[in-house]
């Protein structure tokens, strides 16, 4: 029997969350670490899922199992938990990866509990490896803990599947191929009334949720050094001039200066932009773990000893209220040149 490496293909209204393609990429790496009988498979639950299923094949899923039913049109915890539990019990995957998104964390916690198996949350590094005398290769799931001060590698030895949620933007997406080689398998399960214990009455669009910080290529972030909520107007002005979006440290979110959707860090979003400007951010570990993989980090801080400079590609020691206006002026001049 094949060793199955499963990826949950998260979607909303048929639109797949990009973390699913990142998971297909890392699942391929893991499968290759255990040998030829390992397969990478996608799991899709929803309604009218044909296009999404086809897309998953392009991103390297060898099989996509689809549970397509009007009940699954919108995500609700219990119907989706029941669906995944059904599929896992039928096919016995060895490893099951879910994006550590709002939806994924809600779902994975419930699925793992209903299967009485182990789940490692919010992982940032994954590998298959042996542990002590155990000859089998296990999933070594590594994650930050204690606000990013420690990284811990977690294993799940005697329970199956070995589950992990994986932070978006930590792994590169699988390459999309023109040809889709794999197969789509339509599954059916009985929908019982007890599976439905909640209903969505209404959707409200959330303007701040459109930030999409984790996939932005240019981010200008502000920290406590801004001194107050008004400082974000300046941050926004530089972000606009650069064609980027506004980020924030946790301190500013906790102080109520800006919405949580902008928060970068362990308890916010992990970002990997081409350019990350950190203005007035001291650089607590909890912030650094969320942005240190950015291609170019420019740190601006009055304190030459601020830990943010340890991860910065370049640092400017100075008053951000002088440096940022000068930057806005400079970039505008260069764009017009």
């Amino acid at each position: 029997m094949s060793r199955r490496f499963w990826v949950y293909i998260e979607q909303e209204d048929g639109k797949v969350h990009p973390v699913a393609w990142e998971l297909l990429g890392v699942a391929r790496t893991l499968a290759d670490q255990v040998g030829e009988d390992a397969v990478v498979e996608g799991i899709l639950v929803g309604h009218n899922m044909d296009e999404a299923a086809q897309e998953a094949l392009h991103y390297g899923a060898e099989t996509v199992y689809v549970l397509d039913h009007p009940t699954f049109k919108n995500y609700l915890n219990k119907p989706y938990t029941s669906a995944l539990r059904f599929l896992v019990q039928k096919h016995n995957p060895e490893v099951f990866l879910v994006g550590a998104t709002t939806l994924g964390r809600d779902l994975a916690g419930a699925v793992a509990t209903s299967l009485k198996t182990g789940l490692t949350a919010d992982t940032t590094h994954l590998a298959m490896g042996t542990v002590k005398e155990d000859p089998r290769k296990l999933l070594l799931a590594t994650r930050p803990a204690f606000g990013g001060n420690v990284i811990a590698t977690i294993i799940c030895r005697n329970h199956s599947p070995q589950m992990a949620t994986v932070r978006p933007r930590v792994f590169n997406p699988a390459p999309r191929t023109e040809e889709a080689k794999g197969q789509i398998v339509h599954e059916t399960m009985e929908i019982t009334p007890d599976m439905i214990n909640a209903e969505i009455v209404e959707f409200i669009t959330n303007a701040a949720a459109t930030v999409k910080l984790e996939y932005a290529e240019i981010i200008v972030s502000g920290g406590r050094g801004l001194g107050g909520p008004k400082g974000f107007e300046l941050i926004k002005e530089l972000a606009d001039a650069l064609g980027g979006v506004v980020g924030s440290s946790r301190a500013c979110v906790d102080a109520g200066w800006i919405k949580y959707d902008h928060q970068v860090g362990q308890t916010g979003k992990t970002v990997r932009p081409k350019l990350y400007v950190a203005a007035g951010i001291s650089g607590a570990i909890q912030h650094k773990v969320g942005m240190q993989e950015s291609d170019f980090i420019l740190a601006i801080n009055r304190d030459p000893h601020a830990p943010i400079f340890d991860v910065a590609t370049m640092g400017i020691v100075g008053d951000l209220y002088e440096v940022i206006p000068a930057m806005i002026k400079e970039i505008k001049a260069r764009k017009e040149a």
């Binding site: 938990t81 939806l103 949350a121 420690v150 977690i154 030895r157 009455v201 959330n206 420019l298 910065a312």
Partner: protein
């Protein structure tokens, strides 16, 4: 009468944790422990609705005796009863073993004094897993609304609740039957100022202590480290990055620092085109 139960955790204040640079160990000594911030807001919401509807708020926590201080903090905020679930056998529990204990405790309370709504913080700041709330709900077969930002309506006659929750792309208004469970964002309620009687009462309040044997005889193999499917294989400190060049405005001047920054930034492949600067 409304009966709310809030499950809380006492956590180290992760913003104050440091690593010993020589041993790479976590320095726990002197790190203050606090009531998990999300849980504090969950307690505030439970108390707010108790005051609206009449009723009571019960707090539970699994942890060492020192967690009593966090329970007292909840009493100070207006909770009525607090239970400390504490025994050596519970130590080392992962989220599955934790949800087992909490679910059994909530079932026991519920059997004697029916609960309408079970509150959790969305996650604890030490583990950041966000798994325990949904896990307990699954074990009790309760509907669960996670990432809740507002309770719109609690209807005790018709036995439903309407809760607004936040997803990554939008907010959803969810209606579900009671009893139900929810995990709370900080927006769920403001932390109230303690009233003087509550403050005085909390100082002397002694929580009930439940052990692994009484009043519930737990299934020991499901407890603590033994009952945890996940184990920590190894720990380490995060990779250190190498620091780049630092320019001091006071030394090189503002103009030079900013120009150097953009020379370097725009030299990154693809950056100039992205920003809209002609090379």
């Amino acid at each position: 009468m409304f009966h709310a139960l809030v499950s809380i955790k006492q956590v180290p204040d992760t913003t104050n944790i440091r690593i010993d640079p020589e041993t790479n160990n976590l320095i726990r000594q002197g790190v203050p422990t606090i009531l998990n911030p999300y849980d504090a807001h969950a307690v505030a919401a439970a108390v707010e609705w108790k005051r609206k509807l009449g009723g009571k708020v019960t707090i539970i926590t699994m942890g060492p005796p020192a967690a009593t201080t966090s329970l007292r903090e909840c009493i100070e905020m207006g909770a009525d009863r607090a239970i400390l679930i504490s025994a050596r056998q519970f130590a080392g529990a992962d989220t599955l073993a934790t949800s087992y204990v909490l679910a059994e405790v909530i079932k026991e309370i519920h059997a004697k004094d029916p609960i309408d709504l079970v509150f959790f913080g969305k996650q604890a700041i030490d583990g950041d897993t966000a798994q325990v709330g949904p896990g307990v709900a699954v074990r009790m077969d309760l509907p669960v609304v996670s990432y809740a930002i507002k309770i719109r309506e609690v209807n005790l006659e018709q036995r439903y609740v309407i809760i607004e929750r936040k997803t990554e792309s939008r907010n959803e208004i969810i209606k579900t039957s009671l009893p139900a469970a929810m995990t709370c964002e900080k927006e769920i309620a403001e932390i109230p100022y303690a009233s003087l009687p509550d403050l005085v009462y909390s100082l002397r309040y002694e929580p009930e202590v439940w052990t692994s044997e009484s009043p519930i005889a737990f299934d020991v193999p499901q407890l603590g480290l033994k009952g945890s499917p996940t184990t920590v294989f190894k720990t380490g400190t995060p990779e250190r990055h190498t620091a780049g060049e630092v320019f001091k405005v006071a030394e090189v001047g503002l103009d030079s620092a900013v120009k150097t920054a953009f020379d370097k930034i725009l030299a990154v492949e693809g950056m100039a085109a992205m920003v809209g600067v002609k090379k």
